[in-house]
């Protein structure tokens, strides 16, 4: 067969024929392919940037969060628990009767809430009943914990490590002490709902230090903190910004202004102190009584018939988070004795607890990205959130190692997470979870796919989500991008092949006399094939180069237009990242680019087959005679 160099010499002459048509063909086909190039460059840029922003932190780690959500109907309608609750109720009533007799106080069993309510066939446990609650507690204590379940399910997937992931147990109320003081005029939000924690007054999480480390502010700022007894916390960026007294930047702020703001917040975050006052229900009730009594007395100050309550609480010191003091106690001795007996009765059956309150001061040690919708929502938000969707967004987190190092760790014991699920807690916090780290994103994905519940079976299976790492998401993005590009590539390649076929067909058609002449002077069919294959290769190469040039140019333009805004979003999302990092929408995804170039060449090759086979089937004798 003809030498490649000679085939190239003859093929290049074809590119010089029909220049206008060749140009139009190259431009049209390259525009089609440039869309693929552009998509791959942007995908490459986003993924590269995401990797860079989380480099050395969580990006290459594959972590999932396993949580158990026992079905409420499974507990409330459980006939076994109901039977047990009835048994306990009988005991409670008997014990209360005995205790009331011993203490000399009245007790009417009819006032005792029924443990099981409802009609026959649809009975449920009454959570007002002490017996019902005890029966439920016995049941949940027997259930496997998230830790047990995680170890059992994850072992076949070769987990690397397990980390506890617990939410603080807030059996009462937390109220922020603005400027270090409680505001007793403020109404407490008593409604509780599930969902992301909006403020630290809803509680916080405890997380292993290997997970929280990337979110900490620089060590020099931590070293400068002197109050080592304050509870260390990683707080959402916008909350810290607000605590620093910084007004939100306007939407028209430039990317540089936003980056400067981020740098400022990072530098000063460790100086932020937040204080909350914890009060259990009894303590809070006393405060509420004090407020109510003061209001009642004020309203009746001119009412001579008005009788003040015999026991009046005063408001506590607003800066001390102390218990409400007794302001006046005009109860008689017998009233006090009765109250004392009733108190003792209540304590025996767990119905009376002492008031408890505690001032908790937080020191900010790190920054978590804000949750979705914290600062508007745009396509850039969507893009960045997509690659960072599983980080600590909107969370208030106490790093476990810092917590363990507290000299006054015991002071916070009441806020430690509970190990078992409390179906009654309902304070908006998810139940204690278990983080599992796998060796690869693929292992993590397999684990989630095979072991996590869907919407319909979450009562019987654990709920497993990706956590703290975007490696799985990045892999998913790459997989999705590959799939989408693959489908688009096939469509585009088919269209481009038709366009190229028009061009190649015309050139080959035009060259039929030349082909006939070549055949006459001794060219084999394979020589002719080699010449046109080389021509098509050159034409396709032109298309590929033009597509690369157009794609690169548009991607670079997009990058210059949106990189600044994306960088701001990324800096807000990856708050632990190097402040100088830029988020680019341009990145070389070599495999995709090579595949696109290969596809262009393949489309060219396919476009050549039909015209060439027709050409070779023609009689050179006839073609040489045809002078038209």
């Amino acid at each position: 067969m003809i030498r490649l160099r000679d085939a190239a010499v003859l093929a290049l002459t074809k590119l010089r024929t029909r220049k206008v048509r060749t140009t139009v063909t190259v431009v049209t086909a390259s525009l089609l392919f440039s869309s693929l190039v552009l998509a791959s460059l942007v995908a490459g840029g986003v993924v590269d940037s995401a990797k860079r922003f989380t480099a050395g932190s969580l990006s290459e780690r594959a972590i999932v969060n396993l949580q158990l959500f026992p079905g409420m109907s499974e507990i409330y309608n459980n006939p076994d628990i109901q039977v047990r609750a009835q048994e306990l109720q009988a005991k409670v009533v008997a014990n209360k009767k005995a205790a009331a007799g011993r203490l000399g106080i009245a007790y009417d069993p009819a006032t005792e809430p029924k443990p099981v309510e409802g009609d026959a066939g649809n009975t449920y446990l009454n959570t007002e009943s002490l017996a019902a609650r005890q029966a439920m507690a016995e049941y949940t204590a027997r259930q496997p914990t998230a830790q047990d379940t995680a170890k059992q399910l994850a072992t076949p997937y070769q987990p690397k490590a397990f980390y506890s992931f617990g939410a603080s147990n807030i059996d009462g109320r937390l109220k922020q002490m603005k400027n270090g003081k409680e505001d007793f005029t403020e109404k407490l939000d008593v409604g509780m709902s599930y969902g992301p924690i909006q403020d630290v007054t809803n509680g916080w999480y405890y997380l292993d230090s290997s997970i929280t480390k990337p979110f900490l502010v620089e060590q020099k700022y931590l070293d400068a903190q002197t109050d080592k007894t304050a509870l260390p916390i990683i707080a959402p960026y916008s909350k810290v910004e607000s605590a620093l007294g910084l007004a939100k930047l306007s939407k028209t702020a430039t990317p540089q202004q936003r980056l400067d703001r981020i740098s400022d917040v990072r530098a000063r975050a460790a100086t932020v102190r937040l204080a909350v006052c914890y009060r259990n229900s009894v303590s809070q009730a006393q405060v509420d009584d004090a407020i109510r009594a003061a209001k009642e007395i004020e309203q009746n100050k001119d009412n001579k018939e008005y009788q003040k309550p015999s026991l009046i609480y005063g408001l506590p010191d607003s800066g001390a988070c102390s218990p409400a003091p007794v302001k006046t106690d005009t109860r008689t001795a017998s009233e006090k004795t009765l109250a004392s007996k009733q108190d003792q009765f209540g304590r025996e059956f767990g119905q009376t607890v002492d008031p408890a309150q505690q001032k908790v001061t937080f020191r900010v040690v790190g920054l978590a990205p804000d949750g979705f919708g914290a600062d508007g929502f745009s396509s850039i938000d969507a893009l960045v959130s997509m690659v960072a969707g599983s980080s600590l967004q909107g969370m208030w987190v106490v790093p476990q190692d810092m917590f363990d190092a507290l000299p006054n760790k015991a002071d916070y014991e009441r806020f430690l997470p509970v190990k078992t699920v409390d179906p009654l807690s309902g304070n908006g916090m998810p139940p204690t979870g278990q983080l599992i780290e796998f060796a690869s994103a693929a292992d993590a994905k397999r684990f989630v796919t095979e072991q996590s519940c869907s919407d319909f079976d979450c009562a019987s299976k654990p709920h497993i989500t990706y956590f703290g790492s975007n490696s799985v998401l990045i892999q998913d993005i790459m997989d999705s991008a590959t799939q989408a590009l693959g489908v688009a590539a096939l469509v585009i390649a088919a269209i481009a092949a038709l366009i190229l076929m028009g061009m190649v067909g015309r050139v080959i058609g035009d060259s039929r006399r030349e082909t006939a002449m070549f055949r006459a002077i001794g060219a084999k069919r394979n020589d002719i094939r080699a010449i046109y294959a080389t021509y098509t290769f050159f034409l396709s190469l032109l298309v590929a180069l033009a597509a690369l040039a157009i794609g690169v140019a548009v991607a670079l333009w997009l990058d210059t237009q949106f990189s600044g805004e994306a960088t701001v979003r990324a800096q807000l999302t990856f708050v632990g990242a190097d402040g100088g990092q830029q988020f680019h929408l341009f990145g070389l995804w070599w495999q995709a680019l090579l595949a696109i170039v290969g596809l262009v060449l393949f489309a060219g090759f396919v476009s050549m087959l039909l015209p060439l086979s027709r050409n070779l089937a023609r009689s050179p004798v006839k073609d040489m005679r045809d002078e038209t």
């Binding site: 003809i2 003859l10 002459t13 030349e514 006459a520 002077i521 001794g522 084999k524 050179p620 002078e627």
Partner: protein, 270 residues
């Protein structure tokens, strides 16, 4: 000397005998005769080995449902070193005959043997190789690649023969000199005159040193002066390279300069 048009074949042979086998002298006499546009009969065939042998060759084409006969039982022999003119009216079958000899087409029946090879039995690849090495083609419409320099155009048959580039270029230089185009090999075909282009085409046909040169109306697109020059060139080629030349032509003047004229009418030799 003038050859009378009315003399018989026997008389012509006797007349040519006056030249005592001196072909050059005879050729000059024939040129003079052709210039006078007078009919003549060719000199006797040379006695060298047979290069081309056709025996009872028939060629038919199917056009729609019709079968059209192009050649009908043609038998002839052409010897090495001969210069033969194939003449006849349009549609007489002369180009078909040339293509059969050149291995571009195969006979419907009969034998076409060139340089000892039965072309009908050769497969496509071997036939291409045979054409490349044994036969040189010169076309009426030249078929030079317009975007290649003349020198590169001349190399093309060597490309298909996988001849090394350096060797090809040396051959091109020699041939360009032989056809008087030494100073034109770096030019593009559009920068050459019609006669120069056809000379280049002849040089291209000679690159692989073929034994047989087939020319289909080689002067059809040239003026008479350039036409004569091309025939002069053929003469030179035959003399210098011993190449057998078969020319298809309508031009009696060219036919007159051939050793032999083979006339075709309605697909048969006359």
């Amino acid at each position: 000397m003038v050859v009378q048009s009315s003399i018989s074949e026997r008389e012509v042979e006797a007349f040519l005998g006056l030249f005592d086998g001196n072909v050059e002298a005879a050729t000059k006499a024939l040129q003079a005769h052709a210039a006078a546009n007078r009919p003549f009969k060719n000199p006797p065939q040379p006695t060298g080995p047979v290069l081309v042998r056709l025996a009872d060759v028939k060629k038919t084409y199917k056009v729609g449902r019709q079968i059209i006969g192009a050649l009908d039982g043609v038998s002839l022999e052409i010897h090495e070193g001969e210069f033969v003119a194939l003449t006849g009216a349009s549609g007489s079958g002369k180009s078909t005959l040339l293509q059969l000899i050149g291995g571009l087409d195969k006979p419907t029946s009969g034998l076409v043997e060139v340089d000892g090879h039965d072309l009908k039995k050769m497969r496509d690849g071997k036939l291409s190789q045979f054409r490349n090495r044994t036969i040189g083609f010169v076309f009426q419409f030249f078929y030079l690649q317009p975007f290649l320099k003349v020198g590169t155009n001349l190399e093309v048959p060597g490309m298909f023969a996988r001849t090394r580039r350096r060797e090809r270029q040396q051959q091109v230089e020699t041939l360009a000199k032989a056809v008087g185009l030494s100073d034109r090999i770096q030019h593009l075909p559009r920068e050459l005159s019609g006669g120069q282009i056809q000379r280049a085409a002849v040089a291209r046909a000679l690159l692989n040193k073929p034994k047989l040169l087939l020319a289909d109306e080689p002067t059809g697109n040239l003026d008479s002066m350039n036409g004569v020059a091309i025939i002069d060139l053929f003469e030179t080629i035959r003399r210098e390279f011993g190449t057998t030349i078969i020319v298809v032509t309508h031009d009696p003047a060219i036919a007159a300069r051939a050793d032999r004229e083979i006339r075709l009418k309605d697909g048969v030799l006359v």
